[in-house]
């Protein structure tokens, strides 16, 4: 039994109206505790709807969503939906648009306070979260609207981490950041995953990130899960990915070209490190 389990879920927007549209169909999705899962698929494939289901922001039209020990079915009440949110934190796309408090520390402490923490507790959690995302104490009393885009993003992420979630959902967390900022934030998430055992679900278009960090990949297309498996498995079939309007990481593309020229890998390489580790000994041998 996984930590998150979605069984036979359909989701329709505006059901029974002339504008009805089906966003998800026959979704079966399971995530084990402490794993790193990536959800990929082109724009409009239903990724964002899927993560809203996991956080109890919407109810399935049919089927059942289970997060830890809480179940949500189409008949669930609003209260039951709220229960789901206690374990899950979401970093939405461009999360800096959710900032509203006068100071950074107040904004970060906002979430824990909503979930019943006292003011002092919430402030402690908030300053810990600030450290985690690499913001020094000088920022605590600043207004979030005076910060740069990258710093605002960090405050927003700290606000989510302050909820101390068991499951962290990331919806393109690095979109619009510079290369260094992207690297830093993605490393932070991986650390949270490895060191604190937080389950991570990453929604992204960046295949390099998927190859580098994810253990498990789900591919969505037109509201259906068309493929799932380990990242090695998914990226090994380049032709299939191209047919589904997805790309592969540069590394795998190089590896594929080498294979086409007759080179043999025991295991398909995903990251630059893996590729170089496999190529170097051979090159030395041939010299």
């Amino acid at each position: 039994m996984g930590q998150i389990e979605i069984t036979n879920v359909d989701y329709k927007y505006q059901p029974d109206t002339p504008f009805e549209s089906i966003a998800l169909q026959e979704i079966n999705f399971a995530v084990e505790q402490g794993t790193y899962t990536a959800v990929i698929g082109h724009t409009g494939s239903g990724k964002s709807t899927l993560i809203q289901l996991i956080d109890g922001l919407i109810k399935p039209t049919t089927g059942e969503v289970t997060v830890v020990d809480k179940h949500v079915t189409p008949d669930s009440s609003g209260k039951e939906l709220d229960q789901l949110r206690k374990n899950v934190g979401i970093v939405f796309q461009f999360p800096e648009s959710q900032l509203f408090e006068e100071t950074v520390i107040k904004d970060i402490a906002f979430g824990p306070k909503n979930f019943g923490k006292s003011d002092t507790e919430a402030n402690e959690i908030a300053s810990r979260a600030m450290k985690l995302v690499g913001l020094s104490d000088d920022f605590a009393e600043k207004s979030p609207f005076d910060l740069s885009g990258g710093q605002m993003r960090r405050v927003a992420i700290a606000g989510v981490l302050a909820l101390e979630p068991d499951i962290l959902i990331l919806d393109e967390p690095t979109a619009g950041l510079d290369a260094a900022g992207q690297e830093q934030i993605m490393t932070l998430f991986k650390e949270l995953n490895v060191e604190h055992g937080i389950t991570i679900i990453l929604v992204t278009h960046n295949m390099e990130d998927v190859a580098k960090y994810a253990d498990q990949v789900y591919v969505l297309n037109h509201g259906k899960i068309v493929k799932s498996g380990g990242s090695r498995e998914i990226f090994a079939d380049q032709q299939w990915l191209n047919d589904n309007y997805l790309t592969v990481p540069v590394t795998t593309r190089i590896a594929q070209k080498l294979i086409n020229k007759g080179y043999h890998f025991d295991e398909f390489p995903l990251t630059v490190e893996e590729l170089s580790a496999k190529l170097l000994p051979n090159l030395k041998g041939e010299k």
Binding site: T17, F19, D55, F92, S97, Q98, L99
Partner: protein, 266 residues
């Protein structure tokens, strides 16, 4: 939550009414609203009802959309009708208690109020279902042109109107996004005391205003960099064209008016 609002949404179908000039549609529907108040007897309401039904059929839009347009307003309609029935006097009295009474005059008044509401909503729904918001903005601009003579900034008003219309869906999406983000952080919009609920709006309102300011700044910069210098001496991409069909529609309306006053005299 906002996506449920169907009232006044454009439905892209090709029909005679869809192809009409937005100016004629706007004028005629405003005119019709005034006209409805001149109907005072059964025959005239039946006649206007038939005219409305004819227009609705011409739009080729499924009747369901019109029902969706009326449904959110049904409470207001019923309330007004009930007040009208209970408080109007005249004719035979069927029942009365203190200041409340049900009389034949009140019943007839109630039914008339209902019919008026119904006809007006149907006709305005015809306008919004068959005309894109941008075209309505164009029509307003074109019809306001004479006001330039008395120094009304028509172009600026028209620009603001079309920008506002353009950003309604964007801002709704944004609101939904911010609401979701705050709900994920433990804000509960649907429970608690009134004060608590009002307070829970702050985390939506502030980000929404700030993003609107940022958006306005970006948009202004983008417009300036593309050479926008103000409304005067600009040419237009969408040019409204008055066709024979529009003249015909106006003539139909004249006929309807004539018919209505004829029925009143009879």
């Amino acid at each position: 939550m906002f996506t449920k609002v169907i009232f006044g949404r454009y439905v892209p179908i090709d029909s005679i009414i869809h192809r009409l000039d937005p100016r004629s549609k706007l004028i005629l529907s405003l005119y019709f609203i005034v006209l409805v108040f001149f109907a005072t007897n059964w025959q005239s309401y039946a006649f206007l009802g038939a005219a409305t039904l004819g227009t609705i059929i011409l739009t080729k839009v499924p009747l369901k959309f019109f029902w969706e347009g009326i449904r959110p307003l049904i409470f207001i309609i019923i309330l007004t009708v009930l007040l009208q029935i209970i408080f109007s006097a005249g004719g035979t009295t069927y029942w009365h208690w203190g200041i409340f009474s049900i009389t034949s005059g009140g019943l007839i008044n109630g039914i008339y109020v209902f019919l008026r509401f119904f006809l007006i909503i149907c006709m305005s729904t015809v306008l919004t279902l068959t005309t894109t918001p941008l075209l309505i903005a164009d029509a307003v601009e074109s019809l306001m042109k004479p006001l330039l003579k008395i120094k009304v900034p028509v172009y600026e008003i028209a620009l603001m109107l079309s920008i506002a219309l353009r950003f309604i869906p964007t801002l709704m999406d944004e609101t939904q996004k911010i609401m979701n983000a705050q709900r994920a952080r433990g804000v509960n919009f649907s429970s608690g005391s009134l004060l608590k609920r009002v307070k829970s709006i702050v985390p939506i309102l502030i980000p929404l205003f700030i993003s609107a300011f940022n958006r306005a700044e970006d948009l202004a910069t983008a417009m300036e960099s593309r050479g926008y210098r103000g409304g005067d001496n600009r040419s237009k991409f969408r040019i409204l064209k008055w066709r024979h069909a529009d003249t015909l529609a106006c003539m139909c309306m004249v006929a309807v008016t004539a018919g209505l006053f004829l029925l009143k005299i009879l």
